[in-house]
């Protein structure tokens, strides 16, 4: 269900409901992002209309050609297929789903040389990891169902070990998490601390803001909850704090609310 890449100037990218790991374009920094959203998962981003090119661009109205998918080097992880496999499970207090996912990721890192153990044969690359709906019952976790479930430490432990894998390899990871389903505020605070960058998407659909004339041109708000200070005392914090987005077929725009409105047509997430 991946959108077709636009190989000329404009492309965009789409996340869908399937639970799989896929490579997402990323920068050279080892980082981990937790991204919570209340919006439907179809999201687009577009290349700039100006001359500066930044990132990869897709058209959400078209599908990625099957040949392109088959020609790419990617690994998928769909938990229902893996749960009965004979992958060796080390004793741990993580849920079996998280344990298998960690082993799967660690295996790829090792086998394909992202940790420097086997030298990468072709040009050096970065492993991009995408994990969807972490914390949901799809992963065998109950934090979305119960306020104080039995697995309360499973998710944070998973994130910690994942952080360790990312810090010790050439990889980056983006995670989406349905935090609107998690009742336990403490878990959300802990997840935030264990992440580098945290971005929240808040949809106007179904909220009182939907009818607010101030927001009539927009679909929701973006909250930059946290940005990291990596290898540094300071971080590059923007002073535009109120951000809204609008979502069209080929354009995902973020605009800041202040006296002068300005847009980021080429935001790459």
């Amino acid at each position: 269900e991946l959108p077709a890449p636009l190989l000329d100037d404009k492309c965009k990218k789409e996340f869908d409901e399937d639970v799989y790991n896929h490579k997402t374009p990323e920068s050279n920094i080892k980082m981990k992002i937790a991204w919570r959203y209340q919006l439907l998962p179809k999201m687009e981003q577009i290349g700039p209309v100006s001359s500066s090119r930044f990132g990869h661009y897709y058209d959400a109205s078209k599908r990625m050609p099957q040949e392109l998918i088959e020609a790419s080097n990617w690994h998928g992880f769909f938990l229902p297929e893996k749960i009965s496999s004979t992958l060796k499970v080390e004793p741990c207090s993580l849920t079996p789903g998280y344990t298998k996912l960690l082993q799967f990721i660690q295996n790829i890192i090792y086998e394909e040389g992202f940790d420097g153990s086997n030298p990468q044969k072709k040009q050096r690359n970065i492993l991009r990891i995408g994990i969807q709906n972490l914390g949901s019952p799809l992963w065998g976790d109950d934090i979305c169902c119960a306020e104080n479930g039995g697995n309360s430490h499973s998710l944070t432990k998973f994130l910690y070990v994942l952080r360790g894998l990312l810090r010790t390899s050439l990889s980056a990871c983006i995670i989406t998490m349905p935090t609107h389903l998690i009742q336990n505020k403490a878990i959300i605070a802990r997840v935030t601390t264990l992440s580098d960058i945290v971005v929240g998407l808040e949809s106007f659909i179904g909220s009182e803001r939907e009818t607010n004339p101030l927001y009539k041109d927009y679909h929701g708000l973006i909250h930059i909850r946290q940005i990291p200070r990596l290898n540094n005392l300071i971080c590059d914090e923007s002073d535009v704090k109120d951000l809204a987005f609008k979502l069209k077929r080929k354009l995902f725009t973020i605009e800041g609310w202040r006296k002068s409105l300005w847009s980021f047509p080429n935001l790459r997430i």
Partner: protein, 266 residues
């Protein structure tokens, strides 16, 4: 280290107090600059430092350390710094069975146990060496940060026990210092974290609390620092002293000023 912070704390690497527990705390902001300060401070004071670094990699602290005038790599090579890189160790522990007890052994256990192996690691790292004269002034334990242990399944009581044992050994027996960072989760209703924070607050000699501004983001003032001096062993003799300053973090230093006295405002 930040010279201005030394001035506020009335201390220098040559004449710092010993046998103390310092609690670093951050609420709605990032207090890690305080960790970098104390790491470089105690290395410059020629202390033997055991750094339990749970949340960032060695290279992160090393790069910032260089901005502050210390080389963690050299300190480690000459035996002054014992560095436990939690993230890297967690990967080793979880994916491979360890032959010997590992300080983060609890990651492999189904039920929350205790932090005895971690304490043994600290004790071993800071024990005085018998041969010849002492190379280092006094031992220091630095932990960044304790709240992570709660996320890894440890109960607040187990973490408090761990600090209790560390204090007994490092502060009382070896006349050294302990510095730990705990996050203040505020209204996140994190009961375990609140227990940990309150428990440590009562035991600490000095509390440094970095807080985000109530009015939100400001380019020239990044937060405010509350300094609280306590005398836990003499609760009725002296009243606790408290000072509050605002601060701005720069590339290699942090400047402090009285509230409302930011150079940008004046």
């Amino acid at each position: 280290m930040f010279v201005e912070l030394n001035n506020l704390l009335n201390t220098t690497p040559d004449r710092a107090e010993q046998g103390k527990l310092t609690l670093l705390c951050d609420a709605k902001t990032d207090g890690s600059f305080l960790v970098h300060h104390f790491l470089s401070f105690y290395l410059k004071a020629n202390c033997k430092v055991c750094f339990v670094a749970l949340i960032q990699s060695f290279s992160h602290y090393s790069i910032v350390g260089q901005k502050l005038g210390v080389s963690l790599t050299m300190a480690r090579e000459r035996g002054q710094l014992v560095f436990l890189e939690g993230l890297k160790s967690a990967v080793d522990v979880v994916f491979q069975a360890q032959k010997e007890p590992h300080p983060l052994q609890f990651l492999r256990e189904a039920n929350a146990g205790n932090l005895k192996p971690l304490f043994e690691f600290v004790r071993e790292a800071l024990k005085p060496i018998d041969s010849g004269e002492a190379r280092w002034t006094y031992p220091v334990l630095l932990v960044d940060d304790l709240s992570v242990l709660l996320s890894l399944g440890m109960g607040a009581v187990a973490v408090l026990d761990f600090i209790h044992y560390c204090r007994a050994t490092v502060c009382w027996e070896l006349k050294g210092n302990v510095v730990v960072l705990v996050h203040d989760s505020g209204d996140a209703e994190d009961e375990e974290n609140d227990i940990l924070l309150n428990g440590l607050s009562h035991q600490s000699h000095l509390i440094l609390r970095a807080e985000g501004l109530a009015t939100g983001f400001c380019r020239d003032v990044h937060g405010q620092l509350r300094i609280l001096w306590r005398r836990p062993s003499q609760p009725t003799v002296h009243r606790d002293q408290s000072f509050t300053y605002q601060y701005k973090i720069q590339d290699k230093s942090v400047s402090f000023f009285a509230k409302g006295m930011s150079p940008a405002v004046l």
